[in-house]
Symmetry: C2
Subunit: 293 residues, 2 copies
């Protein structure tokens, strides 16, 4: 894909765009953005585009960014792009995949079909899919690539923690934790979680000896931090020697990092899918590979 392919990005994504483009041998161009006092956006693309265009936009805090995608993708087509790839290391609105109560918006399907109307291909990392098996069911574009942060986080943990015990904060993380553990033959276990609200969760530790262990809590995404904080408290109370945290997506709302550190967590590591001070592992090479395949 590299020849005649241009990677478009916004100014705040300059660094990760450069890493990906260098690894993929592509050119980059920064989108110009002006925000009017009334909240409207004025955007400008390079006036002439090659046939293949890649847009890099991670979709944490997604609503404003979805409008950017609409404006950029439609304009890119007018300016000559014939094949548009969205690289969204974090993909939004993947969690609401059924109506839990009648009348609820199934936002995964609505946003997925919105994106499918704009792009020909979507590349993402660890999308939070529950009840659908493939990303293509949620985002019905002709071509999807799902990468995982688990192998790179596993490598990072292997290099920084002696004989770690990987712990997943809830059942949903089980398969993912197993994959990360298998890569370096780590011990692993998974907590049981009951959610009572956005910021109120109940966690039960797995039936495994944690006393004296160097625990790493591993998950695909950390948002409010309440689950990780609760799990860390229980693990330390059960005698864990240390508890560190590694996540693919550092959503970390408000004071989430402070919250989990107050609970006794030592190090916090994340991939660069969402730019954050905890970023320790870059997905750039994996994304570049996906673009080249």
């Amino acid at each position: 894909m590299p020849l005649q392919t241009l990677l478009l990005h916004f100014e705040e994504d300059q660094a990760s765009a450069a890493r990906i483009a260098q690894a993929a041998g592509m050119a980059t161009a920064c989108l110009e953005r002006h925000r009017f006092p009334d909240g409207e956006l004025k955007l400008r693309l390079p006036p002439a585009l090659p046939r293949r265009v890649v847009l890099l936009r991670t979709l944490d805090h997604p609503n404003e960014k979805l409008v950017e995608l609409l404006l950029v993708a439609r304009t890119a087509r007018q300016l000559g792009a014939q094949h548009l790839t969205l690289v969204a290391p974090y993909l939004a609105y993947m969690r609401q995949d059924i109506a839990f109560h009648p009348g609820e918006v199934i936002s995964q399907r609505v946003v997925g079909s919105f994106l499918a109307g704009l792009f020909d291909a979507v590349i993402t990392v660890d999308p939070h899919l529950h009840r659908v098996a493939t990303l293509q069911e949620a985002v019905p574009v002709p071509h999807t690539v799902v990468l995982s942060g688990a192998p790179l986080l596993s490598d990072w943990i292997a290099a920084h923690v002696q004989a770690p015990l990987l712990v997943g904060p809830d059942e949903e993380s089980a398969q993912w934790i197993a994959q990360a553990a298998a890569r370096h033959n780590f011990d692993f276990a998974v907590c049981h979680k009951i959610r009572h609200g956005d910021r109120h969760v109940e966690v039960t530790l797995p039936d495994i000896k944690v006393a004296g262990r160097s625990v790493v809590l591993l998950d695909d995404v950390a948002s409010s931090g309440h689950t990780l904080a609760e799990a860390a408290r229980l693990l330390l109370a059960a005698g864990a020697a240390s508890v560190d945290v590694a996540v693919t997506h550092a959503l970390f709302a408000d004071n989430a990092v402070q919250l989990i550190q107050t609970a006794g967590v030592g190090k916090v590591w994340s991939t660069d899918c969402i730019p954050h001070t905890t970023n320790a592992v870059s997905m750039a090479a994996a994304i570049a590979d996906a673009l080249l395949s």
Copy 2:
């Protein structure tokens, strides 16, 4: 349209929804909205919808709201709505109607076609159209209604200001000012404006005697307030007895009202197209008429 028509609205629009629905003899239902810590929205509609549904959503600070429209409109169709009307008293993204520089996003066309993909009809008030003649060119839905705040603001001014002189802050307002003036046979004139940036404008007064006059600056929209402030300063320096302000759309970014009051403006009046402390005139009856027609 009233029988079997349901007007959907968000909680913050309860008051204006009630006014419109009462005037149109419609039922209303409030959409449930929950915002997750990561910025995603969870929305819920009434589980069973009639064939005809109206969504009330004014589109100041539009980006988040455009995503709401996407989620609500697509779900409304799934829940049985066959004809969807958007009532957007303020319609966003109508100003960027050409690419001033190559590569610029023509957001009017993109957002217009996005809305046309969601709705069958659009009702709005004084959309800020420059180079397109009709709303339907910008928002290609089968049915459009364009209302104006000018007659009601003119009536309000007639009831509150003795022998007013209506002044438009720029040439774009000329036709609109003439219409408001004609309704009560007010004197009127229009300033000349050169814009140097979002918050930097140069205004020249019209060649008309303002000394001793009760001036009302009238415009379709007030955003940063810099144009109105500059015009007010010049009018008062030229001897105007008073300068009040009347606008359809009270966008009023940041400290805009304070800015124009510091420039010597007395009263500030607006329609309720955008909820604001300056709202003096309700468009509810006019919107209800449009829904019934």
